[in-house]
């Protein structure tokens, strides 16, 4: 059976050319970049090339890129690292319901340690409301963290407007670029964020590696202590093959984004249109202002995990906002914040693509989906046509 992968938010395939670039760094150039002898040289240089490539993707200086073990670590460093340097009276962090769980969990831990936290709610389209942001962001805030786009429904966030507020109140601005970096250009010279989280796997690079952009002059202390790697902000011998792959992926994305992103948009729109042909189905998130690779649809009266499994049996991989698919059995906070009821969140499916997806994939999903929804509605006590 052909496998159609539409769960790219969970993981993306690593590009072959990226893997090729990584391979010599396992078996040939395996030295430690901190070593002075000959075997330290290649990895050291390769790491700096990778740093330049990642920096160039977001228009930063290479010295502003700190390699980490992935987005979660970058987010932890971004949110907690500046705490010792925050100004007097600045003891609150502001995040949003559009954020990934790692931002929520990290900020919750910050709250538990004695600081305060505010969480911005979303409007019906999945966007944070500027009115609420204006009310919430004050002089006591040391950090505002907003994702480029909602992780789940893909709605783009008003970063420029938030940035103004943040600067007005002398806070730091962290942007989580995880889901958008491979598909929408971003430049730290145009948007004056202090901290930016990047993840390699979300650029079609290897897993287990990420980066945090730290603007020059930002007061921040590292969380992982040791040999003082990465300017003392992230100790631990560098994951050289991973970093090399990350750099190669960043390069690929930079060169090819303008080719595949418009294509993803048309596949996405086709998919959305086709699925909305099913009665009592709705689009979650903004119809236009959304990530090119994200279609999030809910089907009334049915539960997400059941749909997910039936799709899986037909060779299609997706994920769901249903409580039944979560470890904690809670429905998606993002969807609830957008005003959906629990049972509506239950019936939501998230289709996320990568450049390998084709229009044929969308067509296949559209051909399979009605039967699956019908089959489950037939056994749903909520459905009384």
């Amino acid at each position: 059976m052909k496998r159609i992968y539409l769960d790219s938010n969970s993981a993306m395939p690593t590009r072959r050319e990226v893997v090729e670039e990584m391979l010599p760094f396992f078996t040939e150039h395996y030295g430690n970049p901190s070593s002075i002898h000959e075997l330290g040289k290649k990895p050291r240089r390769a790491m700096e090339v990778a740093r330049e490539r990642v920096a160039s993707l977001i228009g930063s200086d290479p010295s502003e890129i700190i390699f980490t073990s992935g987005a979660t670590e970058s987010i932890n460093l971004a949110l907690r690292g500046p705490i010792p340097f925050r100004g007097p009276g600045k003891d609150r962090i502001v995040i949003s319901q559009a954020d990934h769980q790692s931002v929520r969990a990290t900020s919750a831990a910050i709250e538990n340690s004695g600081l305060r936290r505010s969480v911005l709610e979303l409007d019906g389209s999945g966007r944070i409301s500027m009115e609420e942001a204006e009310r919430t962001i004050g002089e006591d805030v040391y950090m505002v963290s907003i994702p480029f786009a909602s992780h789940e429904v893909g709605t783009l966030q008003p970063l420029g407007e938030v940035l103004e507020l943040v600067k007005e109140h002398g806070a730091l601005f962290h942007i989580d670029l995880t889901t958008s970096a491979f598909q929408i250009p971003f430049d730290v010279k145009e948007l004056d964020a202090d901290l930016v989280t990047l993840s390699s796997v979300d650029l079609m690079g290897p897993k287990g590696v990420g980066a945090l952009f730290v603007r020059k002059g930002t007061g921040i202390s590292g969380l992982i202590k040791g040999g003082g790697h990465e300017r003392g902000l992230r100790s631990g011998s560098e994951n050289i093959p991973g970093i090399v792959g990350f750099g190669a992926a960043a390069e690929y994305v930079k060169q090819n984004m303008s080719i595949y992103s418009p294509r993803l948009c048309s596949i996405r729109d086709h998919l959305i249109k086709g699925l909305l042909g099913i009665p009592d189905s709705h689009l979650n998130g903004h119809p236009k202002s959304r990530l090119p690779n994200n279609a999030n649809i809910r089907f009334d009266y049915v539960e997400g995990e059941s749909m997910l499994l039936l799709l899986d049996m037909n060779g299609i991989s997706v994920s769901s906002g249903s409580a039944c698919t979560q470890k904690n059995l809670e429905p998606s906070r993002t969807l609830l914040s957008m005003g959906l009821r629990h049972e509506e969140a239950h019936g939501s499916l998230q289709f996320t693509m990568n450049p390998d997806n084709t229009m044929e994939d969308a067509k296949y999903v559209i051909s399979i989906m009605p039967e699956i929804v019908e089959q489950l509605r037939d056994m749903s006590p909520l459905y009384n046509p």
Partner: protein, 154 residues
Amino acid sequence: MTRLEYTKKVLEHFKNPRNVGEMEDADAIGTVGNPVCGDMMELSIKVEGDKIEDIKFRTFGCASAIATTSMLTELVKGMDLKDAENIKWADVVKGLEGLPPVKVHCSLLAVEALKAALYEYYRKKGINRTDLKPRDDEGDEHHGDSEKACGPLI
């Protein structure tokens, strides 16, 4: 079996659930759970003498909810009422060759629905079997109380 994976047996019941649907001439219908909290289960029974002659279910829930209820209906169809009362979630889980820990609560829902149907059956006959009374029969009262509707978080 890993924490997330279903057994073949669960998937088989999920794919081909037995005894699905509504029952026109049901003697009693038990409905438990709350869509606000997540799951909802409806179970109809037809009683002939002291036996459960026929049984049907509808559910708004995950694959585990579908499979466990399907399994339960297979177990109790043709069973004496007395024995049906004593069905435990563990019997259902055993029949399915196990469930991921996080999904065990769905089998509780199936058993609760059966008890609710039996309670209703006796109530109609003028017998008040409080021991079978569903815990959650007061509509929206448990709004947001997911522990209750979705069972214990394991």
